[in-house]
């Protein structure tokens, strides 16, 4: 092998393992290697100059620059990913069937039956209500259960954490305690003084909002609206009430117990009544639920009670999540 190449390889090996030729005036180099930020423990003071191995150099480099390089890479990769996905989706959307074209695949026998026979089969004047609460009621049951799941999760995580903080603190565990970290921020909605304007407007509008919510729910099978939208309207009345008169006022008639009880029973009524209807439908038994005359309040079979159940769940859950996040309890 060529001598020059051999020397080069030897030098390279020494550079990697850190056993390079000693510098001539070793005693003069008493200067310590620089102390780097973020090193876990200070290196042992070495009396002799120690040439760094490749691994040590890499470690130092990572300690010095790692975080900034990582954040640059992270940001650029996330931007690139977003741009690629957005571009891909835009190209895809441009190749989809044109919007509103009558020959689209979505305009098929399914839609046809919903529109033409929906009224007669479900008894609902509002075709959408007929679709979501009769044709595809199983999905809507699932959706109500999603709300229920969310509310139960928030209740479990936030409410139980609050109870724990109320317990007298053990002196041994003061300071940062793993269990106590979910400390509640001081309530921002504490009433500072009597807000006459807010209370005045609230006292006028809350009855109107409640009426509006009830109308939207009860007419769900006749006009646009239904349990989800009506329930959202009702929950705004509760939220307004809490803001104007304080959460304590709402607690007098709507607390955690009421919430759990009302949601559970509404969902249970939904599950049992619709379960009966599903069961009879699948086994080809007459369910005996009257459809009534289209356009009457008491018509459309189970849609009216189901709308009321969904409304109760939605109203309670939306208010409950608001109260839990701002107050820490319902």
């Amino acid at each position: 092998m060529n001598d020059g190449l051999k020397k080069f390889l030897l030098d390279f090996y020494n550079w990697v393992t850190g056993n390079g030729a000693r510098t001539e005036n070793e005693d003069a180099m008493t200067e310590l290697p620089p102390v780097l930020p973020f090193t876990m423990e200070p290196d042992k003071i070495q009396s002799r100059f120690h040439e760094k191995t490749l691994q040590e150099r890499r470690k130092d480099w990572i300690n010095l620059h790692g975080l900034s390089v990582f954040s640059i890479l992270y940001r650029s990769f996330s931007i690139i990913t977003c741009v690629v996905i957005v571009g891909l989706l835009l190209i895809t959307v441009s190749e989809l069937p044109p919007f509103g074209d009558e020959n689209n695949p979505a305009n098929n026998e399914v839609i046809d039956r919903y529109i033409k026979l929906g009224g007669n089969e479900t008894g609902a004047q509002n075709i959408v209500a007929g679709m979501i609460l009769d044709y595809r009621a199983f999905d809507t049951f699932g959706e109500s259960a999603v709300l229920f799941t969310g509310a139960v999760s928030v209740l479990m995580i936030l409410s139980a954490a609050r109870r724990k903080n109320d317990e007298p603190k053990n002196k041994l565990h003061s300071g940062f305690n793993d269990r106590n970290f979910l400390k509640r921020a001081p309530p921002i909605h504490e009433l500072k003084d009597d807000d006459a304007i807010l209370r005045g407007v609230a006292s006028l509008s809350i009855p109107a909002i409640i009426l509006m919510g009830c109308v939207v729910i009860i007419n769900g099978h006749l006009t646009p609206g239904g349990g989800f939208s009506g329930g959202a309207v009702l929950s705004t009345a509760l939220i307004l009430c809490a803001n104007a008169y304080g959460f304590k006022k709402v607690h007098e008639f709507f607390n955690e117990r009421t919430y759990i009880f009302s949601s559970s029973s509404a969902l249970l009524i939904y599950a049992l009544s619709k379960g009966y209807s599903f069961f009879t439908g699948a086994n080809h038994i007459e369910s005996g639920i009257p459809i009534g005359t289209i356009g009457n309040i008491f018509s459309a079979g189970l849609i009216l009670p189901l709308n009321i159940c969904v409304g109760i769940i939605v109203a309670g859950t939306l208010y409950g999540v608001y109260a839990l996040f701002s107050e820490g309890e319902i």
Binding site: P105, V146, V152, I157, R179, F181, L267
Partner: protein, 504 residues
């Protein structure tokens, strides 16, 4: 060809039973652990019913699968459930595994979660069970999505139930990744509806075949397939998307870890199988080259999951990374894109659903014997303190390594046999061999650690800990299941293959 009336109603009854159990749990009294007992009873009923459904479908004339219209309206207008042998076997396996995970961790749940929370915890467990059953039986892509949502929220909350900083952080990571997955799935469902005009799986399939034959809308179809597969892959922790898993599964309470690792991942994987077989069809998947992508990701997961597990010192995190590797096996079977491959993948779903909860339950028992420390160094000799947990861990580890006679062997040999018919045979065999060796590299030291004890631990000078009866029973049942699956897997595999053949 029809089935008996009771069997016909079982899919619906199972889902509704778990839903109703979830709904009434919050109003039940919290004393005497009534909510948990109710969950266990309901899961037991579901298991018995699913067992009967398997029996009824097995003994019916010919191989049949039936559709159950949920409501008074027939197929493309109303919702529909569909049940065949494969779905019944999976429902049986899910309910048994969940029941044993709950009973096995009865004590550790009580230690980790205050009573007030435990009632809500049971609600979420029941909802998880209901959503898993619904994902198994649903024949409608939007119904599946609704239950994916329930599954996601409940799964994230059962991670966060143990109120410590690390679990909340893990739950948040899990939630964010899961929501990205849900978003991709939802976008894809919208695209598919726009292209086909159906949400029900069979009409969708007919329409997709038509589109592919005419060469229309191929690009949007490919994008929607890629998006829905990616979304579900994120949720089922396929390797490059799996970095949320070790935190979430490693830091939560034992019952949550067992259920999340053993069952929740499987619900989403089964939905991918359903999409491939029932919505797109294997030919379309091959034409759009999705099987190759899945295969490569599966092989990567098998190796990288084990490599990450090798680095772990915390026993629960090690088992969690091993789940990533095991998910890779399932995707490898899927990537073979044949009936045999998919049957082997389904067998591995069942095997993993029975073994992983056992490993997590035993690991919990072992760490309880070492003052709740989870590092392998602290677990030295714990086998002799809690022998039931030790036996469970050894059986689970042997199974994960694929020792003949244990459950893991069954699925590994089936995957090997399935890959003989595939053009990818070399890659698949090499990956299986390498991954088995890697599995042994971290399970054997863990076993040595728990079996190596100081004299006082071996000779019982340590303080005795009381092992609850429920723990003993569950571990015993898990070990029995393990041996049953390992020794008598051929009839089960045949059952699954019959199920896969009529799945579409």
């Amino acid at each position: 060809m029809t089935v008996k009336t009771l069997a016909y109603n079982i899919p619906f009854i199972s889902i509704f039973l778990m839903m109703i159990a979830a709904i009434i749990t919050p109003v039940l009294p919290k004393r005497h652990r009534i909510p948990e007992k109710l969950s266990c009873i309901c899961l037991f009923i579901v298991a018995v019913l699913s067992g009967y459904l398997i029996y009824a479908l097995d003994t019916a004339n010919g191989d049949i699968a039936f559709n159950f219209p949920v409501g008074h309206y027939p197929a493309p207008w109303g919702n529909e459930l569909r049940a065949g042998l494969l779905e019944a076997v999976l429902a049986f396996c899910y309910s048994i595994a969940m029941l044993l995970s709950l009973t096995g961790n009865f004590q550790s749940t009580a230690e980790d979660i205050p009573e007030r929370r435990r009632s809500f915890y049971c609600v979420l467990m029941n909802l998880l069970a209901a959503s898993l059953l619904a994902l198994t039986y649903a024949n409608d892509i939007f119904t599946s999505y609704v239950f994916i949502e329930i599954n996601t929220i409940a799964a994230c909350s059962i991670v966060a139930v143990k109120n410590s900083a690390s679990t909340i952080r893990a739950a948040l990571r899990y939630l964010i990744m899961s929501l990205v997955g849900s978003g991709l799935v939802l976008i894809s469902i919208c695209l598919l509806y726009d292209l086909t005009g159906h949400l029900l799986m069979q009409p969708m399939h007919t329409k997709i075949i038509e589109l592919v034959k005419n060469g229309k809308y191929i690009f949007p179809l490919t994008v929607s397939l890629a998006l829905i597969t990616a979304g579900l892959a994120i949720k089922s922790a396929l390797y490059p998307f799996s970095f949320w898993l070790p935190d979430a599964h490693g830091s939560s309470t034992n019952a949550s870890s067992a259920v999340l690792s053993g069952l929740v991942l499987k619900g989403h994987i089964f939905l991918i199988i359903k999409l491939f077989l029932r919505v797109f069809g294997l030919d379309v998947i091959e034409a759009l080259r999705m099987d190759k992508v899945i295969f490569i990701l599966g092989v990567t997961a098998m190796i990288m999951g084990s490599v990450h597990a090798l680095k772990q010192l915390n026993i629960k995190r090690m088992i969690a990374w091993s789940s990533v590797a095991q998910v890779g096996y399932i995707f490898l079977g899927l990537g073979l894109n044949s009936v045999e491959g998919i049957s082997a993948a389904c067998l591995h779903i069942i095997v993993h659903a029975c073994v992983k909860p056992m490993l997590f339950t035993s690991a919990g028992g072992l760490s309880a014997a070492a003052d709740h420390l989870k590092s392998l160094h602290d677990l030295l000799g714990t086998f002799y303190i809690n022998k039931w947990a030790g036996l469970g861990f050894v059986a689970g580890a042997c199974s994960m390594m694929g020792i003949p006679g244990f459950a893991g062997f069954a699925s590994k040999i089936s995957l090997t046999m399935a890959s003989f018919d595939s053009p990818l045979i070399i890659w698949s065999l090499a990956a299986l061999a390498l991954s088995s060796v890697l599995n042994a590299l971290y399970y054997v030291p863990a076993m040595i650690a728990i079996l190596t004890g100081t004299d006082e631990k071996i000779h019982g000078v340590h303080e005795k800990i009381i092992i609850p009866l429920s723990f003993k029973i569950s571990i015993g049942m898990f070990i029995a299941l393990n041996f049953y699956l390992g020794l008598r897997f051929v009839p089960l595999l045949r059952l699954i293959m019959r199920g896969v053949n009529i799945f579409g």
